[in-house]
């Protein structure tokens, strides 16, 4: 193939293991250097580099098929990665397939965590950076803008992004089902375990009002509190001060429960009108299961959260075909619009590069 084409070349989590991806991923400095290298490739008329922890992808508009090989060579050289090894994990798509792939990436359909929306921002960021450098043109501008529109459409027309699929985010979503706005909630983190920390961070990112950490090891509690912008509480006080909190996250390694039904009953007497939400992520469990029977008290353990996350994931998975069909149709229509311009339009595939071309309407 020696005719003008749109291509994507790179590696993603589907084939490349983390050990490979960490060698391929680009930091800001490396990305800037690579883009400078790519700008010097003859026949590469437009390009955009997307680099996240799960993928490195270079989208380009080329005058001939040989250009993609030159892009690969430049990338491998910059990353000091053997070209032969790269080809084992390589993703190469052209024309409509490349366009369709970008639409799926932007919609979160190609993500490791299906339907996640962070990738949308990452693709947008990569495109904005390329635009700023003046290395996109009429073709990529149109493709990326249509990709963003299609991703929004996929979100609104299918359930691909609905429901949380990580334990920490499911816990936060449940808290929102109980309290609504989390700004006025007080969260108590029991223990300084990894999963508890992740959950506390998820609460923090959703704007939880205040966060208090308690652990048998006070120095660890203080360290984590400082990291989370929280305060530390001596471990022995957590039951007597239970009424002060709305959400309690248990993640200690204690052999027995650390919050009793009696303490919870006493706390609820002090705050009967305000619900109390327990998230028990510990094994053995931190919270006495009997608290679940109390009025206005809600208890979810690790199994409950994992089940909800997996149900949400199954629901998203069930939407894949619908989402793929929707995006496929959009990609096909987009390609029908682009292909003639690519092959004949003056100033595009005919060999004249227009740096920083404005988006087509």
């Amino acid at each position: 193939m020696s005719q003008p084409n749109v291509f994507v070349i790179g590696a993603t989590h589907h084939v490349a293991p983390i050990a490979v991806r960490e060698k391929l991923t680009l930091n800001a400095e490396q990305s800037a250097a690579l883009q400078q290298d790519l700008a010097g490739i003859t026949g590469l008329k437009e390009f955009t580099v997307i680099s996240t922890c799960n993928r490195i992808e270079i989208y380009g508009v080329a005058a001939s098929s040989e250009v993609a090989a030159a892009v690969q060579a430049a990338f491998c050289q910059r990353q000091r990665f053997a070209a032969a090894e790269f080809e084992q994990f390589r993703l190469v798509l052209r024309d409509q397939s490349a366009v369709g792939h970008l639409l799926e990436v932007a919609a979160g359909l190609d993500s490791q965590m299906l339907g996640e929306t962070e990738i949308f921002g990452q693709v947008k960021g990569a495109y904005a950076a390329a635009q700023e450098r003046g290395v996109t043109g009429p073709v990529l501008n149109r493709i990326f803008q249509k990709a963003f529109q299609s991703a929004k459409l996929a979100r609104s027309q299918t359930g691909i992004t609905e429901g949380q699929v990580s334990v920490a985010n499911v816990a936060v979503e449940l808290a929102a089902n109980i309290f609504g706005d989390l700004e006025k909630t007080r969260v108590l983190l029991l223990g300084a375990g990894d999963i508890g920390e992740k959950t506390a961070k998820a609460f923090r990112s959703r704007g939880a009002g205040s966060l208090v950490v308690t652990s048998r090891r006070m120095e660890r509690a203080m360290e984590l509190a400082s990291e989370l912008g929280a305060t530390a509480l001596p471990f022995g006080q957590h039951e007597s001060r239970l009424a002060e909190f709305d959400i309690v996250v248990g993640s200690t390694s204690a052999p027995d429960t650390v919050v009793s039904a009696a303490a919870t009953t006493a706390a609820m007497r002090q705050r009967p009108a305000r619900p109390l939400f327990f998230i028990d992520l510990a094994l053995p469990r931190d919270i006495d299961p009997k608290v679940a029977a109390l009025e206005n008290v809600f208890l979810y353990n690790l199994d409950d959260l994992a089940r909800i996350a997996s149900e949400n994931l199954a629901a998203r998975t069930a939407e894949i075909a619908k989402c793929r069909a929707l995006l496929g149709g959009r990609a096909e229509a987009l390609w029908r619009h682009i292909e003639p311009k690519l092959n004949g339009a003056p100033g595009s595939a005919s060999g004249v590069y227009e740096p920083g071309g404005q988006p087509s309407p």
């Binding site: 299918t158 359930g159 609905e162 979503e173 449940l174 089902n177 109980i178 309290f179 609504g180 909800i308």
Partner: protein
């Protein structure tokens, strides 16, 4: 044949728009839980406008507030609930309250339209030309509309509480507002209902005290019982003695009591008293 430009014609049209809210909401929920808040709100606004036109026309025909029979009372109650939804519903995060209000308004409207006997006769000169009594009756029925909305939020609370307790939070449960929001709105609605009913009773009592001979003791007792029950529930809630599920069930019971009280109150109007023309039709 139905004259679509008559009061009943307008009210039939309104009922179909409320039914459309229910249908669109149900279809949306069944199809992957897609919400269409704007559509719900638009249909509710159209239904409301048509019902308002129908009730206004009826009011013009009878020369007063259209509260002369069971049909009009049901229509007015549905209209009151919709008024309140349009006023406060937008503050809810989802269209579920609109969906439920649409269902309630459709049920009340369609039942009242489907029973011709309810609209076959009506007490004429119902309020004896006394605008204060008319105001008292309208206020009382409006408070019943607030009770209806309170009942809806209570049902939503019970669903939300159940879903969280049994740990089934997906599907259409996910569109319900949070427990805390439902509690807050429930309390506010109860305060509003009690305040409006109290004002209605205050207005009515002035008339009863002036003209004790025409006051119907049975009706007064039923009305005061509903008011006292609402006041008791509010007092217990404010003292934190009636909370969460129990409060929701109590609110549902209050709405049930309010609906049941319409029977005795309405029948008291038809008693052959010499001054039937000035009998108050509602609590």
């Amino acid at each position: 044949m139905l004259d679509f430009l008559s009061a009943r014609g307008w009210l039939w049209s309104a009922a179909f728009f409320y039914l459309a809210v229910f249908t669109a909401g149900t279809v949306g929920l069944l199809r992957h839980g897609r919400r269409a808040s704007n559509l719900t709100y638009a249909l509710m606004v159209i239904g409301y406008a048509l019902q308002l036109a129908g009730l206004s026309l009826r009011g013009k025909e009878v020369g007063g507030c259209p509260l002369g029979n069971q049909f009009e009372i049901f229509q007015f109650t549905a209209w009151s609930a919709t008024t309140l939804y349009l006023m406060v519903g937008v503050t809810f995060r989802s269209s579920m309250l609109g969906y439920f209000t649409g269902c309630l308004a459709a049920v009340l409207s369609l039942i009242s339209l489907a029973v011709p006997a309810w609209d076959a006769t009506r007490s004429s000169k119902l309020f004896g030309g006394n605008p204060w009594i008319e105001f008292h009756a309208a206020l009382a029925l409006f408070s019943y509309g607030v009770f209806a909305l309170l009942a809806l939020t209570s049902v939503m609370f019970l669903f939300r509480n159940y879903s969280l307790k049994v740990k089934r939070v997906g599907g259409w449960f996910s569109f319900l507002p949070s427990i805390l929001e439902l509690e807050v709105i429930g309390l506010r609605l109860l305060v509003a209902a009690v305040a409006i009913l109290t004002a209605s009773l205050a207005v009515g009592s002035v008339w009863w005290l002036r003209d004790t001979a025409t006051a119907d003791v049975g009706k007064i007792l039923v009305t005061v019982a509903v008011w006292a029950a609402a006041l008791l529930v509010l007092g217990l809630r404010l003292a934190s003695l009636l909370l969460a599920r129990r409060f929701a069930w109590a609110c549902l019971a209050l709405f049930g009591a309010a609906l049941l009280s319409l029977g005795p109150v309405d029948s008291s109007r038809h008693q052959p008293t010499p001054k039937v023309a000035t009998t108050v039709p509602v609590p």
